[in-house]
């Protein structure tokens, strides 16, 4: 048995900015306060538990404890065929289940191709995948936007966000019958065609959504109190973000121009005209909470642009699945594949030994690494700022714990 090391308890008075050496500090007995923030806490976005040590209002350390939602996804992967495992990817980032499905399917397809198999996704299915995937990105970012408002005490944006998300969920329901756990993508394409009504709904959504974005920005993004609360708070600079493996909006908010969809285009992302949204430090320091928030708001606009173009260019209806053997066996090989999910880069490392099930299927979840950076950022923040920072990382515990 390997000996486990436990971290040394923080020293009293180690709160940043509170080091003082005067009569009060010497005569007054003071201790740090240890609090469990979570797993049942309104703003930990699920079952995250932060063990925080505070000195008054100032947090001197925050240690995340995760695993409350661990469902052995990687072990399960080793006992299920490639097709069967798609439904488990739904349960990872349940707010962007479509994107998780998609990434996994792309990973398996890449693995099949690497082994010399022919996997030709029909053109039509690629467009459907992009449209649905980007819709889910908007839905996920809407939740991020709404809950961020909640974290900072503004209730109303959340309901406005849910209102638009409802439209997207209705579209998904028409497409695949489910509202949260879709399992719509499959290895080789998508499971069903989009019905005509859903396509009409998508067009209607596109026509309406840009106006709504302005509404959100007026309501929350430009609010003085909101800027006061989010700007210059929880700054994650580019170096830290890269070192801690942050991806997605957290990395881009730090000013790192990196979006897998743009720099390593998969599917058909190279056919659309859209921009990579970066943090600009407009309201404060580059890489603060406001930047992370704003990157998501701008990404929604870009996703909207992609959807509009994809709907425009949508080819004539046809097959939605590639011709693949029913009893799918991946050739021997291994592959790490990552794709840009709403939360960051979701990666799958799949090793196949030629069987019907993967030999090993490791998930690299973006929120897992985005959460890790909190250990570095938290010391010195106030409790309110800690909440703001956790919110700005847009964590989904289903994905962290898998």
């Amino acid at each position: 048995m390997i000996q486990r090391q436990t971290p040394a308890p923080p020293r009293a008075g180690s709160g940043v900015g509170l080091e003082r050496d005067d009569d009060i500090a010497r005569t007054l007995k003071s201790e740090l306060l240890h609090i469990n923030m979570g797993p049942q806490h309104p703003s930990t976005h699920g079952v995250l538990r932060l063990f925080i040590t505070t000195d008054g209002e100032i947090v001197s350390s925050a240690i995340p404890y995760i695993g409350y939602l661990h469902r052995c996804a990687e072990k399960i992967a080793e006992g299920n065929t490639y097709h069967q495992y798609v439904i488990y990817t739904d349960r990872m980032d349940y707010l962007a289940a479509m994107n998780c499905n998609w990434t996994y399917c792309l990973a398996v397809e890449a693995l099949l191709r690497a082994g010399g198999m022919k996997v030709e996704i029909p053109e039509y299915a690629e467009y459907v995948r992009v449209i649905i995937g980007e819709l889910n990105r908007i839905a996920s970012h809407l939740i991020a936007f709404g809950t961020y408002g909640l974290d900072l005490g503004a209730m109303t944006p959340f309901f406005h966000a849910l209102r638009e998300r409802e439209v997207i969920l209705n579209i998904f329901e028409q497409v695949c019958g489910a509202r949260l756990m879709y399992s719509y993508y499959d290895v080789g394409g998508v499971k069903w065609d989009i019905p005509d009504e859903a396509l009409e709904d998508i067009k209607r959504f596109c026509a309406m959504f840009e106006r709504k974005l302005d509404e959100y920005n007026t309501l929350l993004s430009e609010n003085t109190i909101f800027i006061e609360r989010a700007a210059n708070v929880g700054v994650i600079d580019a170096q830290t973000a890269l070192a801690f493996g942050c991806t997605g909006p957290v990395l881009r908010a730090a000013g790192v121009d990196w979006d897998v969809r743009r720099h390593e285009p998969y599917s058909i992302y190279d056919r659309f005209d859209w921009k990579v949204c970066l943090g600009r430090g407009e309201k404060g320091t580059l890489g603060d909470c406001w930047d992370r928030y704003m990157v998501r708001m701008r990404e929604m606009e870009q996703s909207w642009r992609i959807i509009v173009q994809a709907v425009d260019k949508l080819p004539a209806r046809g097959e939605v699945m590639a011709a693949l053997p029913k009893n799918l066996k991946a050739p021997v090989g291994e592959l790490y594949f990552r794709a840009e999910n709403p939360k960051g880069e979701l990666g799958f490392y799949i090793i196949s030994d030629g069987g019907a099930v993967p030999f090993r299927c490791k998930t690299r979840s973006p929120a897992f690494h985005n959460l890790h950076v909190l250990e570095r950022v938290a010391p010195g923040l106030m409790i309110s700022d800690l909440v703001a920072t956790v919110g700005s990382l847009d964590l989904v515990l289903g994905e962290i714990d898998r």
């Binding site: 390997i2 695993g67 661990h70 990687e74 072990k75 890269l242 493996g245 790490y336 090993r360 490791k362």
Partner: protein, 196 residues
């Protein structure tokens, strides 16, 4: 930089610590000595022409039963006896554990899969947490699931499972315990499902 160039750079600098390399596949890899992994990692990050500033993914692997020829034991999902019980698989043959590090350089836009293999009896790898802080959690997860010890890791605890959980679940020879504290785990389908 191509994979071959990276391999040569490493081979020049570390010589015998670079054990193997495979090119010409979808994602080439380099197998290195687990004890000098931290130095290699530092070299990979700090050299200007390599500059692997990102560690994307750290995956533990249990190579038990892996057969690169494609005739592994894991070809079927579950092998059932006629009476419905799961057929036990022979795990007596020793096989290595391994860790795979997927690295990337944004500056040079090249990627690398760095592999180490450690004996099952004494799974010890040098920690790269000092090089890429993100590895601290990746290594904790690998420790949690495979029992691979990362030497020099400042805080090597279980991360996803409870602190007092026994065993290393993602090893191929893992047997689900019959109880966890006061909670019976038999008969719930978990123990049976994970057996091969």
């Amino acid at each position: 930089m191509t994979h071959e160039q990276i391999h040569q750079r490493l081979a020049q600098r570390f010589g015998a610590a670079i054990l193997d390399s495979k090119d010409g596949i979808a994602q080439p890899w380099i197998l290195v000595d687990p004890q000098s992994l931290d130095e290699i990692a530092r070299f990979l990050r700090d050299e200007h022409d390599l500059a692997f500033e990102r560690s994307l993914c750290i995956s533990g692997v249990d190579y038990e039963g892996y057969d690169a020829a494609g005739k592994g034991k894991h070809r079927e999902i579950n092998q059932y006896e006629e009476n419905g019980t799961v057929r036990p698989v022979d795990f007596t043959a020793s096989a290595d554990l391994g860790v795979v590090y997927h690295l990337e350089s944004l500056a040079h836009r090249h990627k690398l899969a760095l592999k180490v293999r450690v004996p099952r009896a004494k799974p010890q790898v040098a920690s790269v947490g000092a090089v890429w802080p993100t590895a601290l959690w990746g290594e904790r997860e690998t420790y949690d699931m495979f029992g691979i010890e990362f030497l020099g890791h400042p805080d090597l605890r279980r991360i996803l499972l409870p602190e007092d959980w026994e065993g290393w679940p993602l090893r191929k020879d893992y047997q689900m315990p019959s109880r966890y504290r006061d909670i019976p785990l038999e008969g719930l389908g978990y123990s049976e499902g994970f057996k091969r």
